[in-house]
């Protein structure tokens, strides 16, 4: 399933890099601790978090993640949005909590990375 389809099915709002939604999502990972994400998330994963400072983009670039879903109505600041656009990392936002989003992703058949 592509990130665009995920965004559509979960009614996520695409904040950045709208041209990069064709990426195939290889799995998912959820955490707010960046080092845990660095250790566990894999290339092409979608990362669910409520962090929204610029460093989430750095993490996503280094791991070549498909995109980042920012939960619970958090809105990434201008610096984060600009960096994400520059690096071509899709940031998607939702009012739902991380728990709900992960549940929805699982229902779509997106597996957690173990």
């Amino acid at each position: 399933m592509t990130l665009g389809e995920v965004a559509n099915r979960l009614s996520l709002s695409v904040q950045t890099a709208g041209e990069k939604l064709e990426t195939e999502v290889t799995g998912g990972y959820a955490s707010d601790l960046l080092s845990c994400v660095m250790a566990k998330a894999r290339k092409g994963n979608v990362w669910v978090t409520l962090q929204c400072h610029p460093n989430i983009v750095a993490v996503a670039v280094l791991l070549e993640l498909a995109g980042v879903i920012v939960t619970q109505g958090m809105s990434p600041d201008a610096a984060t949005l600009q960096k994400a656009d520059e690096e071509g990392i899709p940031l998607l936002t939702t009012a739902h909590t991380t728990f709900t989003v992960v549940g929805q992703l699982t229902q779509l058949g997106i597996q957690g990375t173990e």
Binding site: T16, S35, A39, A58, L62, E86
Partner: protein, 343 residues
């Protein structure tokens, strides 16, 4: 022609935009895609390679230099032969070397309908000729084509002398040629980078990449690791190794940002078979390096933890990625972290 219409209605001068995006390698996106992206995100204006080229290429680089011309005193019958033999659909009209008009196959058809095939070209030509200057950019010509809907435009120099002729086909061919040239150059760069270790002969070839890291600079945290990752990709390192290096160097960089008083440096020494990454700083130093290595041990303040840093997993992540790791630290002096990853 679709290409000209798209290009014609374009945004501000991309030369002004390109440095904002800081893209070294503009992606090939069509106008449609770019619009879509802009509509659903706050993407900065992205300039395609084609748009960039159309502003760079000069008319004289793409025009046809060998121009077939006729004189106003020639007959339309003569013109018919000129068009037929040269397989062209129009020609500039020159009188004593001066451009006085343009005559096209359309004028010829009208003349034939009226049965005036022996009339002179001078009588049937269009005298209010639109021209383009040889030193104008292709985009200016594209705009003129879109506006006047002509099939061809005579090209003149700044003294008004005819130096060439331009069709929309010439522009498309010129753009394609330039795209190909740029593509080859990129290929050559990539080839050179990935063969550096084979091409340069020494007893031991190494490449040193040095990155300065500022303390407390959360906005740029991760850039050194990103740049190192990109460099290694260009050098043709294996993706699995690049990933381990990216994770390890990111964690080392984060430590410099979070914990040092004055920042530090990441020095990557790239060899054909391995990479040695050294992260050094001048303090404050780690009182107990063994304790620091414990998973979950963190000295980060609450607000840093709220940002998602300070999980106490950084050094463990580095260790997990590295083939060798050495950590030395002295309070009040500084810390030196050295890791080796096999390529």
């Amino acid at each position: 022609m679709i290409i000209s219409l798209h290009l014609a209605t374009h945004q501000p001068d991309p030369r002004r935009v390109s440095f904002l995006g800081k893209r070294t390698n503009p992606k090939m996106v069509t106008k449609g895609q770019a619009d879509k992206a802009a509509a659903i995100s706050r993407a900065p204006l992205e300039v395609t390679k084609l748009q960039e080229l159309v502003y760079e290429l000069k008319v004289e680089q793409v025009m046809t230099r060998k121009v077939i011309t006729v004189s106003p005193d020639d007959s339309m019958r003569h013109l018919k032969e000129v068009l037929r033999v040269n397989r062209i659909s129009g020609a500039p009209v020159l009188h004593d070397g001066e451009l006085v008009g343009i005559i096209t196959i359309e004028d010829l058809i009208k003349t034939l309908e009226l049965g005036e095939i022996d009339a002179s070209v001078g009588k049937k030509m269009t005298t209010e000729t639109q021209t383009v200057f040889a030193d104008e950019t292709a985009i200016q010509a594209v705009n003129k084509f879109a506006h006047f809907r002509f099939g061809r435009l005579p090209v003149v120099n700044r003294q008004g002398k005819l130096v060439g002729i331009l069709t929309q086909g010439d522009i498309v061919r010129g753009l394609l040629r330039q795209l190909e040239v740029d593509y080859h150059e990129e290929e050559i760069h990539r080839y050179r980078a990935s063969h550096i270790f084979e091409d340069i002969v020494s007893d031991q070839t190494g490449l040193i990449l040095r990155y300065k890291v500022q303390a407390q600079d959360f906005v740029h945290c991760g850039e050194a690791a990103s740049n190192l990752k990109r460099a290694l990709e260009r050098l043709g390192a294996k993706p699995a190794a690049v990933r381990r290096i990216a994770v390890a160097s990111y964690e080392a960089e984060t430590n410099l940002v979070l914990h040092t008083t004055k920042g530090g440096e990441i020095i990557a020494e790239v060899h054909p078979e391995k990479i040695r990454i050294v992260a050094v700083d001048n303090g404050p130093g780690i009182p107990d390096t063994e304790q620091a290595m414990q998973p979950g041990y963190s000295t980060a303040s609450d607000w840093i933890r709220e940002l998602g840093f300070g999980a106490g997993m950084g050094l463990n992540n580095i260790q997990a990625c590295a083939d060798e790791m050495h950590l030395e630290s002295k309070v009040g002096v500084g810390t030196r972290l050295e890791i080796v990853i096999k390529l």
